[in-house]
Amino acid sequence: MNTATHTLDGPGGHTHQPGGLLRWLTTTNHKDIGTMYLSFSLLMFFVGGAMILAVRAELFQPGLQLMRPEFFNQLIGVHALVMIFAALMPAATGFANWMIPLMIGAPDMALPRLNNWGFWLLPPAAILLTLPFVLALFGIGDGAVATGWTLYAPLSVQGGIGVDFAIFAIHILGISSIMGSINIIATLLNMRAPGMTLMRMPLFCWGWLVTAVLLIITLPVLAGGVTMLLTDRHFGTHFFDAAGGGDPILFQHLFWFFGHPEVYILLLPVWGLMPHVLSTFSRKPIYGHTGQVWSFVAIGVLGLVVWGHHFMTAGLPVPALLYFMYSTMSISLPLAVLFFCWIATMWRGAMSFETPMLFAVGFIVLFGIAGLTGLVLADVAADAQYHHSYFVVAHFHYALFAGGIMGVMTGVYYWLPKWTGHMYSEKLGKLHFWLTVISFNLTFMPQFFLGLAGMPRRIPDYALQFAEFNAISTVGSFVLGLSQLLFAYNIWRCIKGGEKASNGVWEGTRGLEWELSSPPPHHSWETQPVIKD
């Protein structure tokens, strides 16, 4: 064992790095933990995807063919919880773990053991979410949570054992995210290379700093809300029961105080990484670094005060409706700043279109559709028509699949050579992009029309006039799902071998992370670099 390279591991100077499974159970290394987060995320992406393909299969034709409505309800709720909490959030945390120490010139994350705990809380939570499906097979309970991911009272107060499992899964996921956020904040505040002021910090790090603060502000409120739900269910309280002076709408307030910032929690890391990718493949510096930083902050702050637009049809008083409408619409201002900065970064650049760049440009176009349809939904009068329809489903999948997941794919293709030391297959990557972007639109574009025509969300059966668009959507979803196997295969191939990646990987890269070898050494920056301008 070469001990000379491991001088940072405490007084003995030895790293007793165990091998095999024990390495992953015990690791305190930010790269190992990042790899675990990303692998877990990919696995759960397929789990959540399989659930929703079953749902789309049921929706291929009108009528009930494949499953009971109760099981349909369980699938859509757990699909959302899995995709949000177990696929998208861990992917972003995996990025943070891998890239933040490399980008800011740190040896590791600030709190390495806490970091490991943050990851190992995820598998228990994922088991709690999905266990009721298995228990139901043995006649225990009536399956997983069947309320949709929003857990609205009173349905969730009356629901079966699956609701309890979901409540505790959310508690554990929340603890995991808060621990991760504390670690990221401590790292960004304390571990930056000398000379890297906050305003010089890379945008990806800024995106995560705002994300971490939002998580710490909002997740405990969700924890409080689901705790009230638990006591209403089992300990006789009346938080959400009018008979005791409570109100089911209170749950919606508590849920969406978390739920709306959650959208930005999912998207800010992606907005942070986009400018890096656009700048690399346009071979130009990032346009408007400072403007983007303040846009992140503005979106974070505004995101905390607009939650009511998720239930504008629930009977809020008119002044509240107006407030939530205008405050929501005002978010489009800082978001527009980001869009124009992305475009300006590409403007007159020497652009090339490797896979990450394709995903980045696809992201801008499709996420733009999410933003514009969001403005439509923010309008109180229009929302009265579109609320709870497939229009909403299409809108948030443009935001969270095209914005979130495609953003994650951008990052994976961009950084994979840095992580593995090998280039992935560009041919497969491009095929994956085109299949994804075409089948994504095939799946979700028809859902806008379905929603405008009046098809409600969360139903297993529908009227005949919706049949054609649903059939198209189902075909699209299966192509979309299957093309993701290409993604997994490409990653696996890249881990196994391939053309050697240079330190800088891409032609136009800038920043500390590209100065280290690919893959980087065990302790990323044993000696901190000093930043001079």
Binding site: L8, D9, G10, P11, T15, P18, L22, L25, T28, A106, A110, L111, P112, R113, L114, N116, W117, F119, W120, L121, P123, P124, D164, F168, I172, S181, I182, I185, A186, L189, N190, M191, A193, I216, P220, V221, G224, T227, M228, R233, G236, T237, H238, A242, A243, G244, G245, G246, D247, L250, H253, R510, H523, T527, Q528, P529, V530, I531, K532, D533
Partner: protein, 288 residues
């Protein structure tokens, strides 16, 4: 932005702990505790046993994990650089706790100022609860009737106890800063004792509420917010008292000096946070 690989102004040596099994087992313990609780609430026989196993694992791992951290600290593994990571860590952790309490305070304000008046103000043609009038405290239209808890008995005494404990803790801190170890130890022990007496009064108050006032978890939104707010606060006092007791034990063992005592400060921050939550509770739950 150019970088030069010169050595940094820190010692340049950040302590990255050895690989550790504690986090994995702590997660496993939490899984068992949650699973057991779910089973117990839904009346499956193994529930309490699974819960007990989970709690046991959690307790054991925390004991060992914190023990390891204390040993690392005493060995001198942590320098000023690590210390600067711990501080924002603790601050943001307390921040998350603040938001957890904020959810319950928000529920209290919502029920008091929005849902109860709205229920009383509904058009008689459209409501089940024609005779319900808005007042506070309220059990709602159908909650169990109760007598509210007065502010100027035990709650006022408890306020005095917690405020005094904040003073004794600061007195102990002064002792630490000036090297007066007896003052430090005495101040900490007094603080723990005041916390324990507070919890004793709280337990008595709950007993009184349930047996004589009819004030229960089921007593409408007042009972719900009362017990959840004071209950979670009491839980935090318990945690704080345990942490203070550990710090007191470390002080008796000669740990900490005027310059290096992050654990003391972190626990002190936590204790003051719990104190401030109580003051808010006293004003909006008991008094107004």
């Amino acid at each position: 932005m150019n970088s030069a690989h010169a050595s940094a102004p820190h010692s340049g040596h950040y302590y990255v702990p050895q690989p550790s099994l504690y986090p994995f087992f702590l997660s496993a313990g939490m899984f068992l505790l949650a699973l057991g609780f779910i089973l117990q609430m839904n009346r499956f026989a193994p529930g309490p046993w699974v819960m007990a196993a989970g709690a046991g694992v959690i307790g054991f791992v925390l004991y060992r994990w914190f023990g390891a951290v204390i040993a690392e600290n005493q060995r001198g593994d942590y320098t000023g650089w690590e210390d600067k990571s711990f501080r924002p860590g603790m601050v943001w952790f307390i921040g998350s706790e603040v938001m957890f309490f904020a959810a319950f305070f928000a529920a209290l304000f919502y029920c008091r100022h929005i849902s109860v008046p709205a229920l009383a103000g509904m058009d008689p043609a459209f409501t089940l609860y024609k005779d319900f009038t808005a007042a506070w405290p309220s059990a709602g239209p159908k909650g169990a009737s109760f007598t509210p808890m007065g502010a100027w008995g035990i709650p006022a005494i408890n306020t005095a106890l917690l405020l005094s404990s904040g003073i004794t803790l600061t007195w102990a801190h002064w002792g630490l800063m000036k090297g007066r170890r007896t003052q430090l130890n005495l101040g900490l022990i007094l603080t723990v004792l005041l916390g324990v007496v507070f919890l004793g009064f709280q337990a008595y108050e709950y007993h009184h509420a349930y047996t004589e006032l009819g004030l229960t978890m089921g007593a409408g939104v007042y009972g719900a917010t009362f017990f959840m707010l004071t209950g979670f606060h009491g839980f935090h006092v318990t945690l704080g008292a345990i942490m203070l007791a550990v710090v007191a034990g470390r002080c008796l063992a000669g740990h900490f000096d005027a310059k290096r005592h992050f654990a003391f400060e972190a626990v002190a921050w936590y204790w003051h946070f719990v104190d401030v939550v109580w003051l808010l509770l006293f004003v909006v739950v008991y008094w107004l």
